[in-house]
């Protein structure tokens, strides 16, 4: 609608975006809580969990950073580890160059908050017709961000007292990636790159082990995608 006012564009986009973030809410609630609890158990209270989550917002690296906080002070190691663990974001950025075009100030936050889960949603889910694209992506990014920050602070405050057994609940994030993988490869032209990513990461896991698989997997995938460009673009 041409004359739709800004608040209702924002509200409409929120209604469209929120259901997509529910699996992330589930997964982040569990993992964020676990992160806050773990930080608190090392003497770093909710304030530190808040700072780390709000400034870095990088789930798996935040867990890795706990090791950095419980050993001899080494800022260079912290920077290098962060660059390595987070290297996959480079590919997310390349993927979102076109989709995040022309979104003004919102774009800065979209890039800042481009974590695995937000990327998987904004790269796979198409905003419904009539929905403001910028607001739709912003709500997904902002909601995911708030879930993570809130859960990690709550974990720091509660310190491990959870009302029920949540073992396995974090599988929601794995399931989310499985679902979005299926949705991606439904499109015919995406089937080969999807299977390539799966296979290359499998090979990297086998060759480099679970702790060092990200960079070998990225290099292998990139190599295959570049070598197969002519066939994949046909």
């Amino acid at each position: 609608m041409a004359h739709e006012s800004r608040p209702s564009a924002a509200l409409g986009a929120l209604r469209a975006a929120f259901p997509h973030t529910l699996p992330v809410l589930t997964g982040f609630a569990v993992l964020g809580l676990a992160y806050g609890v773990l930080m608190a158990s090392k003497g770093y209270g909710p304030g530190w969990s808040f700072l780390m989550s709000a400034l870095c917002f990088c789930g798996s690296m935040q867990f890795a950073a706990i090791a950095l906080l419980t050993t001899a002070f080494d800022p260079v190691q912290a920077l290098l580890l962060s660059l390595m663990v987070n290297a996959r974001h480079l590919f997310y950025g390349v993927s979102m160059l076109e989709k995040y075009k022309g979104l003004g100030k919102k774009r800065v936050f979209l890039i800042f908050a481009l974590c695995d889960e937000t990327f998987s949603l904004t790269s796979s889910v198409v905003p419904p017709p009539g929905t403001d694209r910028g607001w739709f992506y912003l709500w997904i990014s902002l909601l995911d961000y708030l879930y993570w920050v809130a859960a990690s602070v709550l974990g720091g405050i509660l310190g491990g007292v959870l009302p029920f057994d949540t073992t396995g609940l974090d599988f929601a994030l794995t399931a989310l990636f499985v679902v979005l993988f299926i949705e991606q490869i439904r499109r015919r032209e995406n089937l080969t790159p999807g299977l390539l990513g799966l296979a290359c990461t499998g090979v990297a896991l086998f060759a480099a082990g679970p702790d060092n698989l990200v960079i070998p997997a990225m290099i292998l995938t990139l190599g295959c995608l570049l070598l197969g460009r002519r066939r994949l673009e046909a």
């Binding site: 400034l55 987070n86 974001h89 590919f91 390349v94 073992t167 399931a175 499985v178 490869i185 790159p193």
Partner: protein
């Protein structure tokens, strides 16, 4: 428990982790600004990387599963299979994720 690092050192580690994260997130957008057309190969990668990265993330989530010990990855395998099959059949994302997660919780808490 008292923290291992001083508050100043902790803040420094937080800022270093933040710097590393910011670099990896902003670099592509700084290299290929929106007012200029990116090279064709970058646009090509932008199209094929999303499905490839989704494949990476699936394996990444399952990287610590030990096939040789414990439950031999059976709960993970079953829950992923049910999630994928439901999604292919009904195409209802929340249903697939909820059912897969519930099955996984049941398997790891009660069965195995």
């Amino acid at each position: 428990m008292t923290p291992f690092l001083t508050p100043g050192q902790t803040l420094c580690v937080v800022l270093m982790v933040m710097l590393g994260t910011l670099c990896t997130r902003f670099l592509p957008f700084l290299l290929f600004p929106e007012n200029r057309e990116a090279p064709a190969v970058v646009l090509y990668l932008g199209r094929v990387l999303p499905p490839a990265m989704m494949g990476l993330l699936v394996v990444y989530c399952l990287r610590s599963v030990d096939l040789t010990a414990g439950s031999h990855g059976l709960p993970e395998f079953l829950a992923v299979a049910v999630t994928a099959a439901l999604q292919l059949w009904r195409r209802n994302s929340l249903l697939s994720i909820a059912a897969g997660t519930a099955l996984y919780m049941l398997l790891v808490q009660v069965v195995f």
